[in-house]
Amino acid sequence: MKKNKSGEDPLEPGKFYILNNQYSEAEKFFKNYLETDPGNPEVYYHLGLIYETKHEISLAIDMYEKVLSIQPNHVLAKKHLDKLVGL
């Protein structure tokens, strides 16, 4: 988990929305975050989780593939992608 200079996880609000099943708000947060940090694999990973939960499977696959193109050893993205492709 990456933290900013003040020791906080900048993705925390988005994660909070996900954990509280507020997927539209979470999606908005992570998409906005991409504008400031477009190469952050964690943002794509969380978007993948949101789409997977909402059964938007092809979008979820796109997101997990994006994570792995940036960080090939991302264990969780690999796990989710394998499961979705296996479907």
Partner: protein, 237 residues
């Protein structure tokens, strides 16, 4: 009487289909012997195999040397997909060796007929099943799976429509509205992994959910009912 669960499986042919069978069997915690004459294919799934074997399954001696006998293998799955002749020949060898249960992949109707005549216990049609799945996912994207119980009745997995979000099963009154029975709800719940701080999803099934259960975004109903009623329910927005 309790049925004895088969524990020792063999998968012959480790192409895409065979490799996936191996992975799913591995999740069921059974012992798998995997055989293919292509070393690279064996290497790709060897972490899931109790016994990875590079050998020619059309050679009876090589099969027996690899441990194929009626005492070692409960179920053999012939997953060969490149040649109908090879698939039939290997299946015959397995019958001759005395393997108790043989499941074979059929590539077309003729192939399936021959496999049935040889006495294969179960024939699977992965291409046909995948085609059916694809067709259904296009025509009925909200129906994830459907198991026919008879020509009239099925069990289906249906993604909950938006109009149901945040409502209880009692509010939705599925039983009287659609004449189907909700036997379960599949839900992917976001969780925080304490050790790493990562966000992940936990999949759970609520069997026979109570009437006060609230539907959330992404829930999938497992319903049983008449096909026409299931179809009506999938049209809910």
């Amino acid at each position: 009487m309790e049925l004895k669960k088969p524990k020792h499986f063999a998968v012959i042919g480790l192409g895409v289909f065979g490799a996936n069978v191996v992975k799913f069997l591995h999740e069921l915690e059974v012992e798998i012997l995997g055989i293919d004459k292509n070393e690279r294919k064996v290497d790709e799934v060897k972490q899931y195999l109790k016994l990875p074997v590079v050998a020619d399954a059309t050679d009876q001696k090589q099969l027996q040397d690899a441990g194929f006998n009626k005492d070692n293998i409960d179920v053999a799955i012939v997953a060969i997909g490149e040649s109908v002749e090879t698939s039939i020949y290997v299946t015959l060898l397995l019958k001759e060796i005395g393997i108790k249960q043989i499941i074979a992949r059929a590539m077309n109707n003729q192939h399936a007929k021959i496999l049935a005549k040889i006495g294969v216990d179960k024939i699977v049609y992965p291409e046909s099943n995948a085609a059916e799945h694809l067709a259904r996912s296009i025509v009925s994207p909200h129906i994830l799976e459907m198991i026919e119980l008879s020509s009239e009745y099925s069990i289906a997995e249906i993604v909950a429509a938006k109009e149901f979000y945040k409502k209880t099963l009692k509010d939705i009154a599925i039983g009287s509205r659609y004449k189907v029975i909700v036997i379960g709800i599949k839900r992917k719940t976001p969780i925080l992994v304490e050790e790493t701080g990562d966000t992940d999803l936990k999949e759970e099934i609520l069997l026979i959910p109570g009437s006060e259960e609230k539907i959330i975004d992404g829930d999938v109903f497992i319903v049983a009912g008449r096909n026409e009623d299931i179809e009506k329910m999938r049209n809910a927005k």
